[in-house]
Amino acid sequence: MTMTKGGSAKPPRSGAGTGAGAGPSSAAAPPKARERRSHVPAAGTEHAAAIERAQREMLHEGASAQSVPADAAAKARATREARARIGADVVCEALIRQGVGVFFSYPGGVILPLYDVLGDYPELRHVLVRHEQGGAHAADGYARATGKVGVCMGTSGPGATNLVTGIGTAQLDSIPIVAITGNVPSALIGKDAFQEIDINGITLPMTKHNYLVRNADDLPRVLAEAFHIARTGRPGPVHVDITKDALQQETAAPHPTEQEVIAGLPGFRPNMDGHYRQLKTAAAEIAAARRPMILAGHGVLHAHAEAELLAFAEKASIPIAWTLLGIGAVDERHPLAYGYMGMHGWKHVNRAIQSADLLFAIGMRFDDRVTGNVRTYAPYARIVHVDIDPAEIGKNVAVEVPIVGDAKRVLKAITPMVEATPLEARQDYLDQLAEWKKDSLASSWHGSGAWRDGLLSADYVVQRIGELTDHEAIYVADVGQNQMWLARYAGFRHPNTHLSSGGLGTMGYSMPAAMGAALGVPEREVWAIAGDGGFQMTLQELMTLVQDHIPVKIALFDNKKLGMIRQWQEIIYAGNYHSAHLLGPDYLKLAEAYGIPATKASTPAEVDEAIRFAQGADGPALVWFEIAGEQNVFPMMPAGKGLSDLIEHWGGPEE
């Protein structure tokens, strides 16, 4: 985890202003002009009082590991010691041992044994989500923002299947989470018992590994393995399914050490160091290249290799392009930071890739959204591909130099091997790139031109959110146009401050994931950037934000459309706008009903005030941005086309 500014690691729960009486109704004390448009339960009403009361109770009840009062801890310990240790205790102990301060869960029949002992573990903060999918995304957001393993839980049957979308999201983006579910008593397994589903069979192909535990004695080992597997090598989700009787069974089994865990997993030995000869070959390729480009992916962030990446790029004077999930690998203001690549990436970046003679790809996997048609991808380039997962190399594109290893270690090892190349030695190349960038920034800005009609343009809003937060917040995208606008226009400075469901493209991701990020990194402001489609998929978590006083700022981009669907239908399906039109509620009333301060902005002039209103609110806040209804994200590479076939405008040059 990288903390740059305001980096005092304070416990999630002891933050200023979260004390008694700081409920949403008394929050912010907005000036009159804002008051007019904000809908907050008026102070003194029964509704506001009830919410405040509930919050006070919650805040008192749960606490982070750091802030357990000594007497409460002693009391809890005494309670635990006075009774037998059961499987459910093992789960709690394992979470504490793994440093899990907060986890996201929803109770149900077979996982109740766990809830029965949770009260004896004040070190653990349990967040009661409103839907298990929200819990899985929250664990995912927590993991992405902190770099630690996130944990979510649910009961058997529907509780478990509700987790599946979140587990899939984590799988496609290699996010370390441990999902724990209860299952029916082992004697009932396979009998179609109430709320029984073969969740082990369901998660098997979409996790890094999964377990079914029927005996409490196996729990210490399995849970230790689960965390080890989730975070080691290429990270990923691990699912642990535990039968109800295993949770209830008494056990004395000890927790294994990390060495014992490793010894017990003979089939899991990720290769961390790049092969020396391959590194030498790669260095020779770099020496021979005249138009090299680094393609930085998520693996750089996973490996915390940002400093090593920069040292390498600066020594060899190679510009850096990044994937959607590679955003934050380099500060976008750095002279060698070239931009975001791919389907909705910057034109200059794609153009540079198409003319490069060497791609140094690290921690990325040549996804189809990055390459488009592989046959026409980077036609002049030889490729060095560094990845910790050997299966990613040669999967989507054939490469000249494969290197299997951890991004940090490979960069550390290869940097001394490359020749120091001053920027001047690449002057012509870098000048051309700079010229392309200038062109592309000028022509891509504000793709729809909606701002000219006085309508609100989403890219403008994103830009202002970035600027008014000094680019220091964590920004969590939903999926679709909002996701692409965020990636393009927010301006990123730091690793792990851009969270986005890249692989699975899970609508409804942003708000629950932001919830996890806000609890994991309380020192940063957290913004969820959602379209009205995605927001309506998981908006039930609004109440979790309120109940647990999680200060997520929600930027709701409402064009009353499924914007990306509409864009594809306009450009690819000849304007057949079936189901692109989407109604939504009055979001101010919705926010009011949940007790969340909210405001609305419909013109560019109202944007800054609305953002500041949300920033000023103590706790969660929602800003309803009524954006232009028919705005496209340009450039766009139509599916199946190549990076040279970008559509930059639609409907004439004025667009």
């Binding site: 082990n200 192909p205 890094k208 089939g267 003679d357 002049y380 380039a381």
Partner: protein, 191 residues
Amino acid sequence: MSDRTAQPAHTAPPPRALPGGGATKLHRLVALVLDKPGVLNRVSSLMRARNFNIDSLAVSHTDQEGLSRMTITLHGDDVAVEQAAKQLYRLIDVLKVQDVTAEPTIQHELALVKVRATDANRAELLKIVELSKGRVVDLTAESVVVEVTGTETEVDAFVALVRTYGIKELVRTGAVVMARGSGSIEEALKR
């Protein structure tokens, strides 16, 4: 590759080669896996999800406790099968995967064939079984069950030979494979 390093020209560059695309042939993979519940499911589920079609799959214990061995035969080009092997390696319960297609190996399978036999042709059939190094494992007034082992081709040949008598039932194990020579995949694992 020389054209790749040249400056972009005005002429269109040649299309980038896709991974794989080579000739499809039969590959034999040997995998050492942990003997745990569900491991067969993991392997077969992975092959299905990654769009590989398994021709045959044989699983058994090895001489080491807790260790099972799979012989997987599948069709594909070299790159695709290499990808299949790499994907198998991602499974936590898989310890070692080796493509032994290009190596000198013994690949045998076993078949049980229930053949129609009458007093009139039984003697003739038994002669064929004897010449084919088959073994009669069950004999009734109307049928003979023959056990035959050998390479896939040898088993095919035997089955073709007795087909004229009428095959009532046939079962084959699929190939198991072992490399010739003193080298050992199990010993390689321990190092």
